[in-house]
């Protein structure tokens, strides 16, 4: 904004738009192609001439097939259930812990915080084999619980909430205590409402990560009834002959649609949430 006191001369401004439009075109190409194929009948897909729009519209056939043959609504419902459960449990478990680390005095606090930092270092894929064995022993595998349990505690969530709670003045905590609030009530009724921006940022990261996750669902569930969207697409592609591009692309459109729509509506939150959580 402030840098705009150097007004661009119009050839420079045109060059800027030309370059950015070219970049945008490359970024959007797979999306455009996906939508284009999802509208076409098989014979037009296999004709090697280029056209964006179909001669014979095949929308209903392709999307109906994606919705019926592939149990796509089921995958998406699974995705909503799994993402919502993970997020709710993460906040339920991480926020009180973050409050204790930020605002309470107790022996071993530094040690616990170190444990959280160690957790931050570990890429989740490393845990797959032990968690698989744990899930097997406890009899959790191939269930919704299997998709959820590895993620119920998030070291990153604890870290993020702790950073925010530390920025809240101690006087607010003291005042709440004088009013007779329990520590748990302080977390839910004072701290979390103030932490809304952090909650939004963390929620976006969590939901995007788990809606898109393929690695753990591939390990944790075998039954198609339980599969989340990313794994569902893979099964759909493998199950049908992979020449059925029309329905497959229709399925891909439907799987990415919820996040893309959410992103378009609240773009600011996504980008600000992502940058603030990456850099702090």
């Amino acid at each position: 904004m402030s840098r705009a006191d150097h007004r661009l001369s119009w050839p420079v401004a045109m060059a800027r738009h030309a370059l950015l439009l070219a970049g945008s075109g490359l970024m959007l190409l797979p999306f455009v192609w996906m939508i284009s194929l999802s509208l076409k009948p098989p014979e037009e897909i296999f004709r090697s001439s280029f056209s964006l729009l179909p001669q014979h519209w095949y929308v209903i056939e392709n999307y109906a097939k994606a919705l019926t043959a592939a149990a796509l609504p089921r995958y998406m419902a699974n995705g909503v259930l799994v993402c919502a459960s993970i997020l709710a449990l993460q906040i339920l478990i991480c926020a009180p812990c973050a409050y204790a680390l930020a605002k309470l005095e107790f022996a071993g606090r530094d040690l616990l915080f170190r444990l959280v930092l160690v957790g931050l270092l570990i890429p989740h894929q490393v845990l797959a084999v032990p968690l698989f064995i744990l899930g097997y022993r406890v009899g959790l595998l191939n269930s919704y619980a299997a998709l959820i349990f590895p993620f119920v505690v998030s070291p990153f969530g604890i870290f993020l909430f702790r950073q925010f709670f530390r920025s809240i003045p101690d006087e607010i905590v003291h005042a709440a205590r004088l009013d007779g609030l329990s520590e748990l009530a302080i977390v839910w009724r004072i701290m979390l409402p103030m932490a809304m921006p952090t909650i939004v940022a963390f929620s976006i990261l969590s939901v995007v990560a788990h809606w898109n996750d393929l690695f753990w669902p591939l390990i944790a569930v075998k039954s198609p009834k339980l599969m989340p969207p990313a794994l569902g697409v893979v099964i759909f592609r493998g199950g049908e002959a992979s020449t059925e591009y029309g329905p497959l692309m229709a399925g891909a459109v439907l799987v990415i649609l919820p996040l893309v729509l959410a992103f378009i509506v609240v773009q600011r939150w996504f980008i600000e949430g992502l940058t603030s959580t990456s850099l702090k």
Binding site: S2, R3, A4, H6, L8, A13, R16, H17, L19, L20, G23, M27, L28, P30, W33, M34, S48, F50, I93, P96, C97, Y99, A100, L101, L104, R109, L112, L120, I122, P123, Q125, V126, L127, A128, V129, P130, V152, V153, I158, D170, E183, L184, N212, L214, L218, I219, A230, V233, V234, Y245, L248, A252, V255, I256, L259, F263, L274, T275, S278, L279
Partner: protein, 318 residues
């Protein structure tokens, strides 16, 4: 992450008014210990069971001959590590991962920087360009991988048809040993570029206007002068950070390999995380898979520690 090296908990402001203290005295309020156990206990227990113990377990499995379903367990030292480092497929996977990261990382960082600079250099359509370039980062990669497969299809794919029309060489991109890894890297760049871009945009916003004013007075009033004297030097720390974050993301690439190539043809696109998955969950070679996991963990932790160090630096600059 700045707290990693700065364990100061501003103890003086923590106690109620009137109780001045020099040093943090634990358990001034006896109730706090109880509250802390109640509030932090569940998270800490889960952290132990779901993070810390599994890491211990994977290291333990890596140095024993344990297999899925067996009860016997013998210490065999580094035998599993000797085995993986004598295995051509693992070595190919390690080499491919290095190549993949060394294409995706500079491609993503330079591309993201260029787009961020272009967006920031003017006023119009900023939000629009930012959103479009960020879109691939949001979209489910598993779904988009199937789209890339259609784009790269040898006979009906848009890529080959376009290349043929303008006289460029065509190929069976995902089935050719020489093209498969670069093509996966292009998809990696496409997916991560917007992420690097938003980090750079945040970095550009944090450059104080004073510096540009000062550069103006010193006669650096051309766009290129300002870029070289102010923008790029000020972006240095954040650029280092973006380099490591993107390297880490590239290092953890999995979905495109699993869906598009399964590591083929002839292990030409075998990447570390895919090898880890195959050995552990398809071939069920527990000790072998665990040794690969430990190698993966060591590299990832090294990158993350560098990243944490860089964030600390950045904080000091401000």
């Amino acid at each position: 992450m700045s707290a990693v090296n700065a364990p100061s908990y501003d103890a003086s402001s923590r106690q109620p008014d009137g109780i001045r203290q020099v040093r943090a005295l634990p358990r001034r309020r006896p109730g706090e210990v109880f509250a802390a156990v109640a509030l932090a206990g569940p998270a800490m227990a889960l952290l132990l069971v779901l993070f810390i113990l599994p890491v211990v377990a994977i290291v333990a499995v890596a140095v024993t001959d344990w297999q899925f379903g067996t009860r016997s367990l013998n210490f065999i030292g580094l035998a599993n590590f000797r085995a993986i480092f004598a295995d051509d497929i693992f070595l190919a996977s390690l080499r491919n991962t290095a190549i993949y990261v060394s294409i995706v990382m500079p491609g993503t960082v330079l591309g993201g920087l260029a787009i961020a600079l272009l967006i920031e250099s003017g006023d119009s359509l900023r939000g629009f360009y930012r959103a479009i370039h960020f879109l691939p980062f949001m979209a489910t990669l598993a779904a988009m991988a199937t789209v890339w497969e259609a784009l790269l299809h040898p006979t009906i794919g848009l890529v080959n048809n376009t290349f043929a029309a303008v006289g460029l060489p065509t190929a069976n991109w995902l089935r050719d040993e020489t093209t498969v890894l670069p093509v996966l890297a292009v998809i990696g760049i496409w997916q991560n570029l917007g992420f690097a871009m938003v980090l750079f945009l945040a970095g550009l916003k944090s450059i104080p206007q004073d510096l540009y004013d000062a550069a103006d007075i010193d006669g650096a009033d051309q766009w290129l002068d300002r870029l070289i004297t102010v923008t790029l030097p000020m972006l240095g720390p954040i650029a280092m950070f973006v380099v490591v974050v993107v390297a880490l993301r590239a290092f953890e690439a999995f979905d495109t390999v699993q869906i598009l190539t399964q590591g083929g043809p002839g292990h030409a696109s075998e990447l570390l995380l895919h090898t880890l998955y195959r050995e552990s969950f398809e071939f069920l070679r527990a000790g072998y898979g665990a040794a690969i996991t430990v190698v993966f963990l060591v590299i990832a932790i090294t990158l993350t520690l560098i990243q944490a160090r860089l964030i600390d630096k950045r904080v000091h600059y401000q």
